[in-house]
């Protein structure tokens, strides 16, 4: 494939996985229902047919088993890419991810690498039942030894998945499932920005809006609405949750003096809290207002009929923008 093609993120991820498998015969896919079905979101559609059952493993139904055996496969020189079916089903693998995967390289004093990617469809807006709409990224960002990223658009998804697979460290790859289907241009020839870099996706002067994954499109929408009301908002797509590329954020805040951070995950002990603290440390004298967080409530993700009340939307972002401007 080459050129610029419009495709949904689901297809971009599929193409990115395929390219990574073509580039390196050690890349393996593992997960529940990822073979003939192509995964419940069809991200791996056609890949088992193309690469065979030794490259695309439809595993037994056990997340701890998937990640634990991926660790052994990585020790043997493979580069496993694990699919967790839904965000809320990663927890059976939590021990293998946090106590084993994250610490393996350190435990081996750097003599062993763990090139494993764990793909997790995450977030709400799909009207699903319990355990299917969660945003557990903070648990993983809190764990040293893991890299954590989340693309917000098809182009980034195509390139970031390939970079994540090339990384010699474990990468937790959060896929915004509400963004699987909208189409966007993917430039198949021109590599996107580096995996762990933050991108300014809309320039503005009065307030900086920062988010990642599913929230970026909401922030762009909020910035559009703000512009109609005469407020100029800059929008930043974080892309990398751990590590965080702070320079573009600090630069933006120095210009705007105001920062609103949004994510679907609860706000308490969150990615937003971490960024707010660091920005306050590094850009205190540039701030015209406290850094504000717009987040999911500190409650379990509610039943589907209440999800739009729970999830931050453009209005809630604008409410925070108003508060920031009022200081």
């Amino acid at each position: 494939m080459s050129g610029i093609q419009a495709m949904p993120m689901a297809k971009a991820l599929n193409a990115g996985l395929r390219q990574a498998m073509l580039d390196d015969p050690k890349v393996l896919l593992m997960g529940e229902d990822i073979g003939p079905l192509g995964g419940v979101f069809r991200i791996t559609e056609g890949l088992q047919a193309e690469f065979g059952q030794n490259r695309v493993l439809d595993t037994p139904l056990a997340e701890s088993g998937i990640v634990g055996t991926a660790i052994g496969l990585a020790m043997r020189g493979f580069r496993p890419v694990c699919e967790i079916q839904f965000d809320g089903f990663v927890y059976p693998a939590f021990d293998q991810i946090t106590s084993q995967l994250a610490k393996m390289t350190n435990r081996h004093e750097g003599t062993l690498t763990m090139p494993i990617v764990i793909r997790i469809p995450f977030g709400g807006h799909i009207g699903a039942v319990e355990h299917h709409q969660e945003s557990p990224e903070a648990y993983f960002a809190h764990t040293a030894g893991l890299r954590v990223v989340s693309p917000s658009n098809p182009h980034d998804a195509y390139w970031m998945i390939q970079e994540a697979i090339r990384s010699n460290d474990p990468v937790i790859f959060f896929e915004p499932k509400s963004r699987y289907w909208p189409k966007g241009d993917v430039n198949l020839d021109e590599r996107g920005p580096e995996l762990h870099s933050t991108q300014v996706v809309r320039a503005g002067t009065e307030v900086t809006l920062l988010g990642y994954g599913p929230m970026v499109s909401v922030l762009l929408q909020a910035a559009e609405l703000a512009a109609e009301e005469g407020t100029s908002a800059e929008v930043i797509d974080l892309r990398s949750i751990s590590p965080i590329d702070y320079d573009p954020i600090i630069e933006s805040v120095r210009k705007t003096g105001r920062l609103v951070i949004a994510h679907e995950a609860p706000g308490f002990v969150s990615v937003g809290s971490e960024i707010a603290a660091t920005v306050t440390e590094r850009a205190f004298y540039s701030l015209e207002a406290p850094v504000l967080r717009v987040a999911g409530f500190d409650t379990p993700f509610p039943p589907a009929k209440l999800e739009t009340t729970y999830l931050p939307d453009a209005d809630r972002v604008l409410e925070a923008v108003d508060r920031a401007l009022a200081y």
Partner: protein, 374 residues
Amino acid sequence: MSYTEATLQLLSPAGSIVESDTTAEYLPYIDKLSDEELREFHRVMVVTREFDLEATNLQRQGQMGLWVPSIGQEAAQVGSAFATRKQDHIFPSYREHAVAMIRGVDMLDILRMLRGLTHGGWEHAKHNNFHIYTLVLGSQTLHATGYAMGLNLDGSTATGNPETDEAVIVYFGDGATSQGDVSEALVFAASYQTPELFFLQNNQWAISVPVSTQSRTPLYLRPSGFGIPGIQIDGNDVLISYATTRKYLDEARAGGGPRFIEALTYRMGAHTSSDDPTKYRPDSEVEHWRELDPIARFETYLRGRGEGDDFFQDVATEAADYASDIRLRTLALGPPSTSMIFDTVYSEPHALVGQQKEWLANYEASFDENGAAE
């Protein structure tokens, strides 16, 4: 995987009683059932299926977020559920609609959950100890085991009185057997000799993954490695499901320790309304199992016992009425209140959650009637 020599069966697919040395042990349980009870087995299977079809329609019409059909598994569920005693506790997975019906759950409560109005739906204390559905595969097997440990600890079991001694039955699927939780539940159950029956519905598929990926041996053999007796039954035979569950649960409640039943059945429909089974399984397999349909088989049996058209007609009418009533009540369901997000996160007041509830109320009040912020 279909029936093997080990598969216990009382009712052949042709609808006649199987008399043999192995069935001799189970036939007395059936002989004790009255005509009324046998008719009840049929009635619940038919009503559940009609309910299930109606729920599928409601989902297609946008009235449900998701539907999880149980079609094909009625006999495994109805037989085992009728074999429980009123004091028993039932820990379901998420497809046990017929068991729920038998234990007195209002089926609208299941629809409320899958419509996206609640994560739970019913109180087990008010519904004959039928606990709420569990969506994280296998988790409930540990909860059931702990509950059964509690029965041992507080002396509510093994006193010698089957009318009051309590026991636990836990339902799970073939895919779930691969979860660590299920193996751990078997370990705890064996260590603490719990009054518990593990009831596995092997419907041959875990979404698109065949049971052969989960186990190279028949699953009823797995518990023996844990020191728990296991048997395999024809899960489309409501009579063997009833007889074996009755026997095993009563042995467990008498202090005999945990037991395990693998019921071979088939998920005739999609995994859920989001699934397209034609992507991974051949029609011929579905057709094979259609021949083994649990309801048709039992109807043949009842007709052989002299049950006439009137009865079957009455049941069909009742099922249709039930389905249309469920439809009306589903359409009448209102939206949930936003306070549900906050009110039961903790059992006692919590500062942060309280503040956020108040913030949301003020925020929502700040929108005028046109939906614009003031």
